[in-house]
């Protein structure tokens, strides 16, 4: 009996301990980054440009670049993701091969390593499409689109975050009660009218959640933009879609690994990391909050 109890305590203790490790890891990483970056997080840092070979100054261009990246990404990805989700939940017959093919594609897309998206962006957007566009538009061998830039980086990122949008929107569409659809159809509304007037308005939270999660993911990923558009340092903000851009995550990577004096810029590195962390957290928490509200709707 006591042996059994002891063993039970042991199992309980062990599993609890491992659960505790996870919480501890989260707390340690967060504390470390907040503590390391807090003091350098000034207004000048947020609104200033890098100076003296990026050993001083701020990260404003990287913030703007990240913002532009996720904006263009969302403009491209959210409508496509939303429409795909609508197709899967409203139009597709569950038995149809086409629908299963698309589901398979979405699942596969979700599992492709980020760096492979980068390769694809380079091989497809830049080398295949970009060089052809340049061939048509500029007849002089100049590179405009056939080189890394913010458009190709954003599109690559849109592709990477597409499954996030699709899954989130589909989940939201599923919470729209069947009764509402039937009510609309029984009133003589067509399928598209029902989707437009009943399904989409009632899935807005989900579409928003999907967009936010995608933005958070896009802001945090660096691998896909390593060679599709992110730049080490730029004196100007990007002025067009064919310009390169600075980005927070990439900036952290560069500063932490390639800076001439890594130790001297620790403060800046920490502060940049903190900014990225705050950004993704704010986004994630608002997404979690929205999803929570959405789930509550299912119960009532």
């Amino acid at each position: 009996m006591t042996k059994k109890k002891l063993l039970g305590g042991f199992v309980y203790g062990t599993t609890a301990f491992f659960a505790f490790i996870i919480i501890a890891a989260v707390v340690i990483v967060m504390t470390n980054i907040v503590a390391g970056g807090w003091s350098s997080l000034t207004k000048d840092f947020l609104l200033g440009s890098p100076e003296e070979g990026m050993t001083k100054g701020g990260i404003f261009p990287a913030i703007v670049g990240t913002f532009l990246l996720v904006m263009i990404m969302s403009i491209a990805g959210v409508p496509i993701g939303t429409m795909t989700a609508i197709y899967l939940s409203e139009y597709a017959s569950q038995k149809s091969i086409f629908a299963r093919l698309i589901r398979f594609a979405v699942n596969t897309l979700a599992g492709v390593p980020a760096i492979v998206f980068g390769l694809f962006g380079l091989g497809f957007f830049i080398q295949f499409i970009g060089t052809r566009v340049d061939g048509v538009l500029y007849n002089n061998g100049e590179l405009h689109w056939g080189q890394p830039n913010i458009l190709w980086a954003s599109l690559t990122m849109a592709l990477l975050t597409l499954p996030v949008v699709i899954v989130s929107v589909e989940e939201a569409i599923k919470t729209v009660p069947r009764e509402l659809r039937e009510a609309s159809l029984a009133l003589g509304a067509t399928k598209w009218q029902t989707i437009r007037k009943v399904v989409i308005p009632n899935s807005i939270t989900g579409i928003l959640t999907g967009a936010i999660l995608a933005v958070s993911r896009g802001a945090g990923e660096v691998a896909p933009i390593l060679f599709t558009g992110a730049a080490y340092f730029l004196p100007h903000l990007p002025s067009g879609l064919s310009d390169q851009f600075m980005e927070l995550g990439y900036h952290i990577y560069i500063m932490a690994t390639q800076s001439p004096d890594v130790e001297a810029t620790r403060g800046i590195q920490y502060a940049t990391t903190l900014v990225l962390l705050i950004l993704t957290f704010t986004l994630n928490f608002s997404a979690i909050f929205l999803r929570y509200k959405l789930r509550k709707r299912i119960i009532t």
């Binding site: 038995k95 009764e179 509402l180 659809r181 039937e182 067509t190 009943v198």
Partner: protein
């Protein structure tokens, strides 16, 4: 087959006629060879124990069963002599003329006004004045106008259960249907709200042809002119309501209406 005595009744126009209707969900047969006539400006009640197929039958009359992925319908549903399952039929137009009220009241999460205006709006009506007229007329027809005329901007979901159901009726009336299908419209309501709905049905039959599914036999007896009794997907008996409830021809019907059914 059911008793044919109703054929000797006063010849009223047949509005809906089903001929040898079979409905399948996958391999399961939900409706078995049902032939039945429903008359203009009359209320036809369909009764029977739950799972007997009465709702499935009702939903075949405006082709709502089409929405269920593996459902299959055989036989004819004739509306004014035309088979609504004909390839040529436009289901959207059909549903505009054959409205439906559901068991669970299902107003849209919109204002009262927008709920009623939904149908006219999807038909392309945008004239505010006309919409207001339609909304008022429909709400009056549904006997809801007096209660909500000052809060048309309030959410349809803020109404009580009985009011919500009348809102759904108003919403259905706003598209100008000729036939109303009601799927246990009062099953979730308290007696007072139920009485209001029944009163309303009595009023509406002057203008519409009504088919109502109910598990409440008193309700069927009160509101309907004709009653069909369904059991296990089959139509057991169909006749004038007062005959069904006083002198049923079939033993099963009698067992059911006298409450001897399991």
């Amino acid at each position: 087959m059911y008793s044919h005595s109703y054929k000797t009744l006063q010849p009223t126009d047949v509005r809906i006629k089903t001929e040898h209707l079979n409905i399948y969900y996958g391999k399961k047969q939900a409706i078995k060879d049902v032939s039945l006539d429903m008359f203009t400006h009359r209320v036809t009640a369909l009764i029977g124990p739950s799972g007997c197929g009465k709702s499935t039958y009702l939903r075949s009359l405006n082709r709502m069963n089409d929405l269920i992925e593996n459902s299959r319908t055989e036989g004819n549903v004739l509306l004014d002599g035309v088979n609504i399952y004909d390839k040529q039929v436009d289901v959207v137009e059909l549903r505009k003329k054959v409205g439906m009220i559901f068991q669970k009241s299902n107003p849209f999460p919109k204002s009262i006004f927008e709920n009623v205006a939904y149908g006219p709006r999807i038909n392309g009506m945008n004239d505010k004045k006309k919409l207001e007229d339609i909304v008022e007329r429909s709400l009056k027809q549904a006997a809801l106008w007096e209660e909500v005329k000052d809060d048309l901007a309030k959410s349809g979901l803020s109404l009580s259960g009985g009011q919500q159901q009348r809102l759904c009726i108003a919403r259905a009336l706003a598209v100008d249907p000729e036939i109303l299908l009601m799927d246990e419209p009062a099953s979730a309501l308290d007696p007072i709200a139920t009485a209001k709905i029944e009163e309303l049905i009595y009023e509406l039959k002057n203008t519409y042809t009504i088919v109502i599914v109910t598990h409440n036999m008193q309700q069927a007896a009160r509101v309907s002119d004709y009653t069909g009794f369904f059991y296990m997907g089959e139509l057991i008996e169909f006749d004038e309501t007062k005959k069904i409830f006083t002198m049923p021809a079939k033993k099963q019907t009698e067992d059911y209406i006298t409450g001897r059914f399991g």
